[in-house]
Symmetry: C2
Subunit: 323 residues, 2 copies
């Protein structure tokens, strides 16, 4: 049985939406445990039998994660990682502070052998189904070799999670030509080109609407900005569309049209479909959007279990042996 | 009379679409001249009376702009800048190599007094109408003081072009908190906060769908990636919407719905509505999208004339005196 430890105190509407999400996941057959403040969690559990491990400290979004992990030994995310380290669970899901998840994973689980920097890989919607963007926020500034390792880890994730053979890896840059980019991109380009990866060269932001690459490699600053720009643009366009339909369409048509468009809205809504994996640590750790509602938490827990079932970590070990 | 020099050889479909765009702008009352290869331009001019200055050399997108400007004294963009320098025209519009436009403007027109780095400011669609993103690609790596100057120039542009009083300036970052970002953002934050600007703090990519800021300040690498991500996301969503409507909507409704949505598509299409200004040089210089069709070229020439009419440069001089 695969069990997922869920950080009950992480997220904008924790613990209530996290507990509700865990209950929904359990109802769909996923085995879960909760880490957090027992007194705050129990009222929402009602008569659902989900084990609670009492780790009452909370790390907030604006705390320095390094200090927080050092000082709060009873933080909920620390509890989750400890359970994973002790093999009492097989994976961790948190919608809390990404920095705290990252630091606690590195310090408790340890980095995967050979990995310079663990990385956050986010699965994004695309024309061909999904693409992977990494790093979406773990390390703001990185060396070329780190970007190269992101390429290897991203390709393996695409292979295991999205069942893509020989995934196309691109380097996010400010133009297609080999000469483009800052020094870090120019050097990373060479490393990626000379590797065994299916490297398709430099790609641009507009390639989110093409099928040019399955994996987008970039530093954590750029990746984080891109991720949120995707979200912002999708919402902006949806708002503009709502206004345009109101202005230009015969009113009785509004309801069927909005209904027809709902799936697209959901697909581009990170609360409903965003999945992020922390790669390069010794264990399956996934990260939910801070604004996750109970539905998003449920989905997050389910894809976390899928990663365990697909044996993500042991498949990574062989891929990373070449690092 | 304000005359605009148009770079006839710059752009993916130059000179044909550039010449056609210039003719359309002229038909709408804008005085234009063309710089480029006379033999290639004249056949498209038919009987339209637009002066052509013969500068037959072309700088392609993948040339090193610095070398190109040094070696090609008869490049079309060099001709445009020379006319502006000699006050034979009042502004330059080019859809060609951005690097070549930047380098030729700096070397021929000169930098505005006090400006460390000229910058490309792009006007983007937003909920409140428009926002300005800068830098969208002039300098990939910059110092904090350069970002601070971008804030001043962007605010002045928003005031002059978009008629916004005391525009809200935000620093694009990987989170809202003051502690977020790389060293460059942390230092720029302090400079912006201690200035006379209406600084609203750190903003994120998702704020393209809020009204939090009128001006988004970032380095040219991030800005360029953001600009293209906006474009890519808009197109991705449009494609997903087309499929969803085809799948889910009663067929006879497709035509009115697509018609109702067309204005949104246009608004988010850089070929139709993108405007970019090169700020910090001694003259009005604007930059069109490389893929501009004749309609986009016409629009580009018209907004260029508007900038001249609004006296952009002399208003900048007073704003930049505090640098």
């Amino acid at each position: 049985m695969n069990t997922i430890a869920v950080d009950a105190m992480g997220g904008d509407s924790a613990p209530i939406d996290i507990v509700k999400g865990a209950i929904k996941a359990k109802d769909q057959g996923v085995d879960v445990v909760l880490c957090g403040d027992k007194n705050l969690i129990n009222p929402y559990l009602e008569n659902h039998e989900i084990p609670v491990f009492d780790f009452p400290q909370v790390i907030s979004m604006d705390e320095d994660p390094l200090k927080a992990i050092r000082n709060k030994k009873n933080a909920s995310i620390v509890g989750c990682m400890q359970l994973l380290k002790d093999k009492k669970v097989q994976a961790v899901f948190s919608a809390g502070s990404t920095g705290a998840t990252l630091i606690s994973a590195i310090s408790i689980l340890g980095k995967h052998k050979g990995v310079i920097r663990p990385v956050i890989a986010s699965v994004l919607p695309s024309l061909s189904g999904n693409t992977i963007l990494l790093d979406s926020g773990a390390s703001l500034d990185v060396k070329p070799k780190v970007l190269f390792q992101y390429g290897i880890m991203g390709a393996k994730l695409a292979e295991v999670i999205m069942d893509i053979d020989n995934p196309k890896v691109g380097l996010l840059n400010n133009g297609e030509e080999e000469t483009k980019g800052r020094d870090v991109e120019k050097a990373a380009y060479k490393l990626l080109k000379n590797s065994n990866l299916n490297f398709v060269g430099n790609i641009e932001g507009r390639d989110f609407s093409t099928k040019k690459a399955d994996v987008f490699v970039t530093d954590g600053f750029t990746g984080n900005v891109v991720l949120k720009t995707l979200e912002g643009t999708a919402k902006l366009q949806q708002n503009l569309i709502s206004s345009a339909l109101l202005d230009n369409l015969f009113k009785p048509l509004l309801i069927p049209v909005k209904k027809a468009l709902q799936p697209v809205k959901d697909q581009l809504n990170p609360d409903k479909s965003g999945a992020s994996y922390l790669l390069g640590v010794n264990g399956v750790v996934t990260i939910g959007h801070g604004s996750s509602n109970s539905e998003a938490v449920k989905n997050g827990i389910i894809y976390t279990e899928t990663a365990v079932k697909k044996d993500l970590i042991s498949k990574f070990s062989s891929a990373l042996s070449e690092l």
